[in-house]
């Protein structure tokens, strides 16, 4: 008989693995990738490929330089690359994609210890750095479904619906709500098609990769605030929900494990916070869009949310009671 394996219990493990989970996220992003090609042409594939390759390469090189084990096998760099690409306009110069990817992986993720240790979402960190550094290239929106008309040589510029959206205003200059749902509007290449993003979200929930609590609370909070702000204007609320990066942010970015709270209670606080900040930025701040900023602000608050939502161990006394007892004893 060969030597037997001796290890600590448990001797069975669930089939879920880190690469498996990341693969599920990649699969969930595929519908949005397909939609981006249909809407904005094959350049969106190129942008995505450049981001993914630079993310993988910078993770590999950074780990090598830091003399740490190679982690590209966990597939998380691919997810970061795809998410970053989906948050860029299709016309973005490719070298900027490389700069953003390197920043996301090296500065935001690896400097803090790699997967699971980063305190803000790498893709959002990369995107915000690019927004600040390359403001005009990052807000140069291409009109959808124009690319095959003239071979993509002269891409037509357009504005995002968010820029011209006001409550109880005239919506005739905006794409129809159906177009908004299908993604036929200006915007980042992966964020526009609500249908594809929701399909991906349903897949993630069905595969138990994410719980629906963060997307629902985030989107729900924005919807409620916009309904109040629009004094009951239902159409305005729907435009707000379908525009900008709300869906991709709520489904794919705010649900990032490392940068969201562990407990359901914490997740609710986190998601409602994201929704409130997004709404406040959209309604009052001098910025066109607030999803990325809201998520990054709430990311930073996660440790505090965790400390107030820590579950009480089974059978442990309430802390207040303990304090009272100690006071009584002394």
């Amino acid at each position: 008989m060969k030597k037997l394996t001796v290890s600590a219990s448990p001797h069975v493990r669930s089939p879920k693995t880190v690469p498996g989970i990341m693969l599920d996220v990649i699969i969930a992003l595929v519908p949005a990738l397909i939609a981006s090609v249909v809407l904005f042409g094959f350049r969106s594939l190129l942008v995505t490929a450049v981001c993914v390759v630079s993310c993988i390469a910078s993770e590999y090189i950074a780990r090598k330089i830091m003399k740490r084990d190679n982690t590209i096998g966990d597939l998380s760099a691919i997810v970061t690359g795809m998410l970053l690409a989906f948050n860029l306009p299709v016309s973005i110069p490719l070298w900027m994609c490389v700069v953003g990817s390197v920043f996301a992986i090296v500065v935001v993720k690896q400097f803090f210890g790699g997967i699971g240790q980063n305190f803000v979402n790498p893709a959002i960190g990369g995107r915000i750095m690019m927004l600040v550094s390359f403001a005009s290239a990052m807000t140069d929106w291409t009109a959808p479904l124009e690319w095959f008309k003239n071979g993509g040589i002269d891409a037509m510029s357009t504005a995002t619906p968010l820029a011209s959206l006001t409550a109880n205003g005239d919506y005739s200059s905006l794409p129809s709500l159906l177009d908004m749902f299908l993604g036929v509007r200006g915007g980042c290449l992966g964020e526009t098609c609500a249908l594809a993003l929701i399909l991906g979200g349903i897949y993630l929930v069905a595969r138990r990769v994410i719980k629906p609590v963060i997307p629902l609370c985030f989107i729900g909070t924005v919807a409620v605030i916009m309904l109040i702000a629009g004094k009951g204007d239902f159409e305005f609320m729907l435009y707000e929900v379908l525009s900008g990066g709300l869906l991709i942010g709520a489904i794919f970015m705010a649900t990032d494990y490392a940068t969201s709270p562990l407990t359901t209670k914490g997740k609710i606080i986190f998601a409602v916070g994201c929704g409130v900040i997004t709404s406040v930025i959209r309604l009052f701040a001098n910025l066109p869009e607030g999803v990325s900023y809201s998520i990054i602000i709430m990311n930073i608050l996660v440790p505090h949310i965790e400390s107030i939502t820590r579950p009480r161990p089974f059978g442990a006394e309430k802390e207040k009671k303990e304090k009272k007892k100690e006071e009584a004893a002394s």
């Binding site: 008989m1 060969k2 037997l4 394996t5 001796v6 290890s7 600590a8 219990s9 448990p10 001797h11 069975v12 493990r13 669930s14 879920k16 693995t17 880190v18 498996g20 989970i21 982690t71 966990d74 998380s76 210890g113 790699g114 997967i115 699971g116 240790q117 494990y257 490392a258 562990l262 407990t263 820590r310 579950p311 009480r312 161990p313 089974f314 059978g315 442990a316 006394e317």
Partner: protein, 447 residues
């Protein structure tokens, strides 16, 4: 004990956490087979939680089946009896399942299986009699933990204990010992239940089963209905690991929460394994001590998986041989269930009173995941039935931060393995929990 439908209770409160593990109860329809007595048995002096026993026999002595061979004068301990008749050939250290060396008595079989003449049914009229009888029988909790039963049933006078929860949940995969006990030993279970009720005066008796065992539920329901006093009730639990854990069981049955660091008795409950209850009835009827037990032998490497009745002290290799040996090269052999059992170094170790399974795996089930960095996904938090945060505890254990560990509730961890089972990063979280407990104990010792 509110919702009664069809006379069967549902859990008062659903237990938080837990994991869904494949049941693999392949041997559930196989009647228990009695093994041919082996040529020798090895009886370690430590088969229970508490003080080890001291041998009362010497090399060369002849012993009969059921004769006392070791005892202890400590309270928390359980005596050990000869499981075959024959000659004591050695009193020396042997290797047991966890790899430790423990003093043990080895008996060479004379092939006679002569029953010890001193065996007589005890007279049980009151609590003292019962506790004495249980102690003399050498019974320890047959569910796996091996806590001396006479200590458990010696209910403290200053606490009002009103509820007996009989654990037939058997939430570990593969094991079908308790299930077979329900099917084959119904009479003893009934007798045991009513004996304990009569002597110890329980007001409620709840038999808890997971809902994946309809046959057992039916039989237990008949037990519950066999007396008109309506004290015994059957409760079904969702088939979710670890429903059979003591504190979880108390919560399901009564809604009471056992405080951290306390016992079920502190909230008026006693939890006993169904096999232990049946054994008590048999012992009171026959006077026979615990000298044999049922094991589930299963797993992908075993040729003929089955439930087998073996004498205590038989070597694991002999049991596997009886079950047709290995059909595939075993990679891992486990004494106990796959969630909490101990991996064996080799198969020449003896079967103890508290072993309920012997599982051998060729590969697929036991392949360990590659360990990666924690991705903070929260699966361990969702899985922990004690509402702990295993991923945080890992960091505290590595930093040897005893104060934070205590605050995080580490001492409540029962090492059920749900966290490590569900971890996608393949972290050996149970080991970190044990490490954390050691850190706390060390810090306590320094003070």
């Amino acid at each position: 004990m509110s919702k009664i439908s069809d006379g069967i209770l549902k859990a008062v409160k659903q237990v938080k956490g837990g994991v869904l593990v494949d049941h693999h109860k392949d041997t559930k329809d196989m009647a228990t087979v009695r093994i041919t007595p082996p040529e020798r048995v090895i009886l370690p002096m430590q088969q229970h939680i508490g003080a080890p026993c001291v041998p009362v026999v010497r090399v060369g002595d002849h012993v009969d089946v059921g004769q006392l061979i070791a005892d202890s004068d400590k309270y928390v301990s359980a005596p050990i009896h000869a499981s075959i008749s024959g000659k004591v050939t050695s009193v020396a250290d042997v290797k047991v399942a966890n790899g430790r060396m423990v003093p043990a008595v080895t008996i060479e079989n004379d092939g006679e299986m002569t029953l010890f003449e001193g065996i007589a049914p005890p007279t049980v009229n009151n609590k003292e009699d019962l506790i004495k009888a249980i102690r003399n029988s050498g019974l320890v909790g047959l569910g796996g933990a091996g806590f001396p039963s006479h200590v458990k049933f010696n209910l403290p006078e200053d606490k009002e204990i009103d509820t007996l929860v009989i654990n037939a949940a058997e939430c570990e995969p593969f094991i079908t010992v308790d299930y077979r006990e329900c099917i084959e030993n119904t009479r003893n279970i009934v007798d045991g239940v009513y004996l304990l009720k009569k002597i110890l005066g329980f007001k409620n008796i709840i038999i808890a089963v997971e809902d994946n065992k309809p046959d057992a539920i039916k039989i237990l329901k008949e037990i519950a209905d066999s007396h008109e006093d309506n004290v015994v009730k059957v409760m079904t639990l969702k088939s979710k690991y670890p429903q059979g854990a003591e504190k979880m069981m108390v919560q399901s049955a009564t809604g009471r929460i056992v405080p951290m660091g306390k016992l079920p008795a502190d909230v008026g409950c006693v939890v006993a394994n169904v096999g232990s209850v049946a054994f008590i009835a048999r012992h009171v009827r026959t006077g026979r001590p615990i000298i044999s037990r049922t094991l589930t032998v299963s797993g992908s490497a075993i040729a003929n998986p089955m439930n087998v009745r073996v004498p205590i002290g038989i070597e694991a290799s002999k049991v596997i041989e009886f079950c047709g040996g290995f059909k595939k090269e075993p990679v891992k052999i486990i004494a106990g269930g796959p969630m909490m059992g101990t991996a064996l170094i080799d198969t020449d170790v003896p079967i103890l009173k508290s072993n309920n399974a012997l599982l051998a795996f060729a590969d697929e089930v036991v392949t360990n995941k590659k360990e990666r960095a924690c991705i903070h996904c929260g699966r361990c938090v969702d899985a922990c039935p004690m509402s702990l945060i295993p991923t945080d505890i890992e960091a505290m254990a590595m930093n040897k931060d005893a104060e934070s560990l205590i605050k995080a509730g580490i001492m409540g961890c029962m090492e059920c393995g749900s966290c490590a089972f569900s971890c996608p990063a393949g972290k050996p979280l149970v080991q970190y929990m044990r490490l954390g407990k050691d850190v706390v104990r060390e810090a306590g010792a320094k003070k």
